[in-house]
Symmetry: none
Subunit: 213 residues, 2 copies
Amino acid sequence: MKDLTTRQQEILTFIEHYEWRNGFWPSIRDIQEQFGFASTNAVMGHLRALEKKEMIERIPGQARTFRINRPDAPEKPEIPEDATEVVDIPVMGDIAAGYPDRVEPAGEIGRLQVDIQSAGFSSRRRSFALQVRGESMVDAEIYDGDMVIIEPRDAYDGDIVAALIDGETTLKRYIQKGGEPPYLKAENKFYPELYPVTELCVQGVAKAVVRSL
Amino acid sequence: MKDLTTRQQEILTFIEHYEWRNGFWPSIRDIQEQFGFASTNAVMGHLRALEKKEMIERIPGQARTFRINRPDAPEKPEIPEDATEVVDIPVMGDIAAGYPDRVEPAGEIGRLQVDIQSAGFSSRRRSFALQVRGESMVDAEIYDGDMVIIEPRDAYDGDIVAALIDGETTLKRYIQKGGEPPYLKAENKFYPELYPVTELCVQGVAKAVVRSL
DNA sequence: TGTTTAGGTGAACAATTGATCATTGTCAAG
DNA sequence: CTTGACAATGATCAATTGTTCACCTAAACA
């Protein structure tokens, strides 16, 4: 495959992307409009060039009938070949029992799959997701109904943790200033309480928030 | 989703199959020919029925612009064995040029894989993710650095949309009160400006927010 | 200097294609 | 017996869309 000029590459990219977003191919005037050409013939020239370089194929005279020659790419249902590691995360409605129980199906209300690079997860840990109830973390911009992805590990000062308090799992800020015993704190100025850190209290550290709009 | 008649199912299957083989959608006359109809209007009737039953979507007046609503999505071979459907979403750093640019490696900064049930995504749409810059949506609890998952579709009143304003893609609230022309509004009391909705302005509707902690 | 290649304007044309009108017939449900 | 959904004909119209012709500028090249 020959080298493309900058403009040709832009056109090709737009065509691919248009199809990706809309599910069908652009018309020549769609492309013209995108690039602000005053004439459809500007597009035609580029398309002819792309055809000559065997980057695309078209059915002459027919509307929106492109084919893209991707020398490497599979036709379409591309599972990401770049093989980013994916973490499979169960969404727990309630983990009051002390730890997320994978056995009981009732506890799991869904699954999240999150790319590692995007969110910085480690696949070795058994992350899980929690649905937030209540307003105790609004000052950390975490709201009722959000899903929080928890990674079980020891907490450091400043982490947001899932903590078991009075048989209920809640989100709290973990605070530990030099030498002193750690405590937990709600991130809501109307919930000024502090909680001591007891055994098996901290379930894990919050790594991400997911909110459906 | 309602039941389809035999004929409607045949039409739908043909459309799907045609796209699968050719890479683009059939014209109405392609369908007509396939079924040996003497009139294009026979096809039109079936398409209207399929649209009313929400099995397909079309862009009125535009050629070969189908969209198929697959509640079960037979298209992709499932990756996760426990069969929750997963949407593979490219994360775009910047789509200021008007569309996400796949060529520049800087354009795509990662991938998200999100379970459909968890977030209410439809697999038929081509979602993508955007990283939020700025504070224009803080009153909607969307903050600088958050990732917003965008689903390309028409907006309704109250939706949060990704909109192209002055060559930059920004998040805005879409407002349309009965009959009046729609406008866009930043969700920040310090950004009181309103924006008119111009052509090609709205890129899609925000479906979810993801924030790494 | 002439020639090619890339990139573009502007106008006009013609094929493709979707939309619509009027009309016919079948069949099951109320 | 009428109503409504389903299926289809036949003709026509109008919008979308691809194509082409003539012509222009600039850079690269031998």
